[in-house]
């Protein structure tokens, strides 16, 4: 369980998050949505201790992220940061292998190698395994980074805009994989998304931020309501029913 209590955050004098409290039970996919600058990435970075906490507390399975050793947390929580520009020349297999870094001291064991192979396969990277990541397209590199986070084999998986750079086919495949990880491996997924229809289709719970506060929180059906969406994003959009699922016509 991840518990965020009374977290506020400023960058310079600008308030980014104001008094956020949020509890994420174990299991399931939670989508974090909201307009640019709402504080989604900041909140995710704070939970993943990529940004130092200024006010409030965050615990992961009871461990305070501010004081728990990084390695201990890295065995429970993996994170895909936004725009992780990696210019080191590593092969895809090497990169995904570093997902095992928190678990071992040095060389990969056979068990580690099996996990790496499974991650490569799960994210459709078999053909690219031997390629250097600086020769990949943006979307391929993104998949390699997600596979690395997956190979970390943690209960909690945090992803900051993982659909960046992905084409429709791979975006859909990634969201379905996240869904599957939650359903079959009991992983807890927290994902920042811009495509609201992906959030509606694959998440169990949608948390919307606006101006650093929680603007909506609930199952997709409760958030996919024109009034709620207009309050979050600032413009009116139609929601239509397609075979029982809500589809947001946000682009019209």
């Amino acid at each position: 369980m991840i518990v965020v209590s009374n977290v506020s955050h400023r960058i310079g004098r600008a308030p980014i998050l104001t008094d956020i409290s949020l509890t994420l039970e174990k299991g399931g996919v939670t989508a974090l949505i909201g307009p640019n600058g709402a504080g989604k990435s900041t909140l995710l970075s704070l939970i993943a201790r990529l940004t130092p906490l200024q006010a409030g507390t965050i615990t992961v399975d009871g461990l305070a992220v501010a004081t728990t050793p990084g390695r201990t947390l890295a065995r429970r929580l993996a994170v895909l940061p936004q725009d992780s520009a990696i210019d080191a020349r590593l092969t895809v297999t090497e990169l995904v292998g570093f997902g095992r870094f928190p678990h071992g001291a040095g060389r990969l064991t056979d068990a580690d190698r099996a996990i790496v192979a499974a991650s490569l396969q799960r994210f459709d990277l078999g053909d690219l395994a031997g390629r250097f990541i600086d020769t990949l397209s943006g979307g391929q590199r993104q998949r390699a980074l997600v596979a690395m986070a997956h190979a970390q084999a943690t209960d909690y998986l945090l992803l900051d805009e993982p659909l960046n750079n992905l084409d429709m086919q791979h975006a859909r495949a990634l969201m379905r994989t996240l869904r599957e990880l939650a359903d079959t491996e009991r992983r807890t997924v927290l994902v920042v998304l811009h495509d609201i229809n992906h959030a509606m289709a694959h998440a169990d719970r949608v948390v919307a931020l606006k101006d650093g506060r929680i603007a909506a929180d609930g199952p997709p059906a409760a958030v996919a309501v024109p009034d709620v969406l207009e309050r979050i994003f600032g413009y009116a959009m139609r929601v239509v029913d397609v075979d029982g699922d809500p589809v947001v016509l946000h682009h019209r």
Binding site: I86, A88, T91, T93, G106, R113, M148
Partner: protein, 313 residues
């Protein structure tokens, strides 16, 4: 981690065999006959010094590039070499009778401070401009080097600075070069920390996510860079470009996973310095050209080529 299996063992063999051949050549090439009287007190220490200094400097360059996440820096362009010079100058002024180990310690301390200050200042540079860091480094190194020259001039020790800042091996004899074995220790330290250093190169966000103590890893890297810089300045004098060109070329060959590339970088550095020293003995036979001069010319050309490739490759 996994790539040791991907890099062909033959590549390691080729590198090791080349270094052995150069080492053997270094024992017999040069003015004077290859008698045992020359071999033991002079040629053997000289060749070992070239081997150790080369391997150490190449690793120091690799480590510096890894923690700075920039391919275009090395000990002499981050102020480490010049700061080490400040330390040995201070030692020469304030404790001229001190044993070489103490002078070495003084040089290490100032090299640590100089490198840490560089990294502290460099953090303010925008990461989107990779060429800004080496440019800033060259300016920073020049400022520290100018301070060194000024202080040495004040203390009437200018000619020593010339010796420290331009490496050469003809003065290396038994009883003085043995300190360089500490460079081998630094190579071993880098090997021990290879995975952590590689993770640090993935950037702060990914490294933190993987649970790396980034600050501690950076500190370890700075220690390796400072100790190697101080060692080479004290024992043989500065050797430019080794730490720049060897890691860059090995990276093109096998990538940046230190577990796989580090042995090749160490061997490559040893081979380059041995070869440059042998060339220095032959170009104006029977006179010698300092190895630092040879490396300056060769290294600068290779560096320019790498820069050009970086822009057009």
């Amino acid at each position: 981690m996994t790539s040791a299996a991907l890099v062909s063992p033959r590549l390691y063999g080729v590198f090791a065999a080349s270094v052995l051949a150069l080492f053997a050549a270094s024992l017999v090439v040069g003015a004077g006959s290859g008698t045992a009287a020359l071999l033991l007190p002079s040629r053997l220490p000289r060749s070992l010094a070239a081997l150790l200094a080369g391997a150490g400097l190449a690793i120091a360059g690799l480590v510096m590039q890894t923690i700075a996440r920039n391919r275009f820096v090395e000990p002499s362009t981050v102020g480490a070499t010049q700061s080490a010079g400040l330390g040995i100058l201070a030692a020469a002024v304030f404790m001229p009778e001190a044993p070489i180990v103490l002078k070495m310690a003084a040089a290490t301390l100032t090299a640590l401070a100089g490198t840490a200050l560089f990294l502290g200042l460099a953090r303010r540079l925008p990461p989107t401009q990779p060429l800004l860091l080496p440019l800033f480094g060259i300016v920073y190194s020049s400022v520290v080097g100018a301070a060194l020259t000024f202080l040495a001039w004040q203390a009437d020790l200018l000619q020593f600075v010339e010796i420290w800042m331009n490496g050469e091996f003809s003065g290396v004899v038994r009883g003085r070069y043995e300190l360089l074995f500490a460079a081998a220790l630094m190579v071993a330290l880098a090997w021990w920390a290879a995975d952590r250093l590689t993770v640090a190169a993935l950037g702060p966000a990914v490294a933190t996510g993987l649970g790396l103590d980034l600050a501690a890893t950076r500190r370890l890297g700075v220690v390796i860079v400072a100790v190697v810089s101080a060692l080479t300045v004290v024992v043989v004098g500065a050797l430019p470009f080794v730490g720049l060109v060897v890691p860059a070329m090995v990276s093109r060959l096998v990538g940046d996973n230190l577990r796989a590339s580090l042995p090749l970088v160490a061997l490559g550095g040893a081979g380059l310095v041995l070869a440059a020293d042998i060339a220095g003995r032959l170009v104006r036979y029977p006179y010698e050209i300092p190895v630092g001069t040879i490396l300056g010319v060769v290294g600068a050309l290779v560096f320019l080529w790498l820069l050009w490739r970086g822009q057009h490759g």
